[in-house]
């Protein structure tokens, strides 16, 4: 699994895009992201789109055509990952939402200790 991930889509897929591409500083922690994907070159069949948080098992979000766009709900957060697989489970694309650093929220979190 790890090797498969390493072998595919190593630096992100151009066919899988987030808008906004990053979670803006001090916004969130949850935002809506507009998702655009196009895997028609890889498959003509429907694809499965999964969502996950870092280190957690992915959950199926959508079973849809190989090309499309959609809004997520207000549940995308720092580290939220969208994974797209074909009908055989082959990895087509993976993208993780990054945030720009926010001093205010970091201080708040550390003060909770």
């Amino acid at each position: 699994m790890m090797l498969m991930l390493a072998g595919c889509s190593a630096f992100g897929s151009s066919e899988l895009e987030f808008n906004p591409a990053q979670l803006p500083a001090c916004k969130g922690p949850l935002i809506v992201v507009h998702l655009r994907w196009n895997f028609e070159a890889e498959t003509g069949k429907p694809v499965r789109i999964y969502i996950s948080s870092p280190g957690e098992a992915p959950k199926l979000w959508s079973f849809t055509g190989p090309k499309g766009e959609a809004n997520t709900g207000r549940w995308m957060h720092d580290g939220s990952t969208i994974t797209v697989r074909d009908s055989k489970g082959r990895l087509l694309g993976i993208r993780t939402l990054e945030t720009t650093f926010c001093k205010r929220s970091a201080r708040k979190l550390l003060n909770q200790r």
Partner: protein, 594 residues
Amino acid sequence: MPKAKNQLIKAGLIVGLCIVLACVSWILDRASMSIQLFTYGWSYGFWANAIPVAALFVLLLALFNRLVLAGLVTLVLVFALYFANYLKLKYLAVPVSFGDVYLLENLHLATLRLLTDYLKSGILIPVLLLVMAAIGILAWKERAFFVRRSIMRAGLGGLTLFFMISLGTGAQWLGRVYEAHKLRVIPYAPNMTILHAGLLGSLVYSDVERVRALDEPVDRAAAASLLALSPKPEPVKAEGSQRPDIVIVQSESFFDPAILASLDDTRDLLPNIHRALAQGIGGTMDPPTFGGGTLRTEFEVLTGIPLAAYPQVEFPYLQISQKKIPSIIQVADRAGYATIAIHGNSGTFWNRSKAFQEIGFGQFLTKDDFSDDAPLDGTYLSDTAMTDEIIRKLSTAHAPTLIFAISIEAHGPYWGKSVADPARRAAIPAPQGLHDEALQEYRSYAYHIRNADQQLGRLWQFLAARHRPYVLMFYGDHLPSLPHVYKQSGFDNGQSGPLQFVPWVIVGSGVGHRTVHVHSWMMGSEILEAAGVAPTPYYRSLASAEPELQKDAAHQQAIENGVYSMARLYLKGRLGEFINSEKGPGDVATDSSR
């Protein structure tokens, strides 16, 4: 080639290889977390993660004097770390943490045997052989990188040695580099910390923090508020009445699968726990671990100390070491009980032999003390064998006895294992919607917990027939790792596995019916109360906290703060002094433990 140019090329090669190794380790880091492979690349966390990799490589280069060999060994070690992280996340839903170092320090054959069960050794052995062959060839054939008596070699070796020593001692300068704010540490969310700082970055951060693991602050006002709550009346034992025997069974990975969305009723599978819950005190219990980490629940039950009071402590038996660790075992000992622990595995596993001495057990029976014909079921000694031992010890006891028994039969993994009765396993009804690996996993698991339930029934029947008072506690230590089942089924409440609860119950002489949700650190006060053993001030406080924790969230938070502060005083042996300062010396504090 001029010497200076040669040195420059060598320095460039070292720096270049360090950057390559840093990038590879970052990609492996991201892969082990199942996220996009260069997320947060070139960030502060990226470099923080790179430093230990580069230091290891340079140290190996200085030692071996072989460039490719040092690079390969570094790569193998980094790969092994991230593979372990991937497996730990998959099976236990938690990443590798600094606490695992304590596990490695106490690695024994029993631990290795149990851990290798999770690996597919068929692939592992050829890969290991291939890597060893490559290392052997490189060590033999590769040319030396530094000339003899190289200043560069000595300098690099010294520098990395300094880094390693700093790492070992948790040096302050490391704390400035691996500072929480710079690394974007998210307290209590290790996966998010690793997302920003990388696994190695967060490990070094934890290393620096570890010196403060037990040095958590005490909120005296919160502890005083808890102390001021009216304590429950102490249980009174009639003069001359016999003290009940106390048997506590910690059942490995036991949970009620009825909480799975695909299953509604487990009364046929687990009749005895259902009967006990209908008659005794019990309900659901919130364990501090998921998928593994038995010792965390065990520690909380035995000591009444919530591990949430010590967020940096992951493996309490390995990280907390003092002459005496206060516990219900010591309370029972003072009340005249013989105290015995029973576990059908090696005593070295989880460092129990040492920890149980500190906790105060009079005797610890391990695998070697079981009879030669003790039956196995699956990989481990069966619950039948454990119950045999409990019955044997009680049958020969001359004093009131407390037995704490830790089962092991139902330990995972739950695939590809033979069991004593495969036909019975195959006949376990398939829950709706479970198929393939999930069904195989479920049936293997259900087979073992059914055995656990049958032994609960057998033990209960034995105790009830002895004409001696008794109190029997039974609980699951955590939910098992059943990734396929959880994926196909999910839970009734829609929450994830780590947020589910396990059942707990107390039955016995004079024990009435009550349903209550508890944390595992509350179990000690429950068993003392049920057995009529006078609790110490600490356990009285825990008992008085219990109803308060059923109230609103803000109230809960205040009570938990009080409990954590009191637990910190209790572990350090300062609770008596605190109580005397708050209430005056009338309320004798017998909790001092050091």
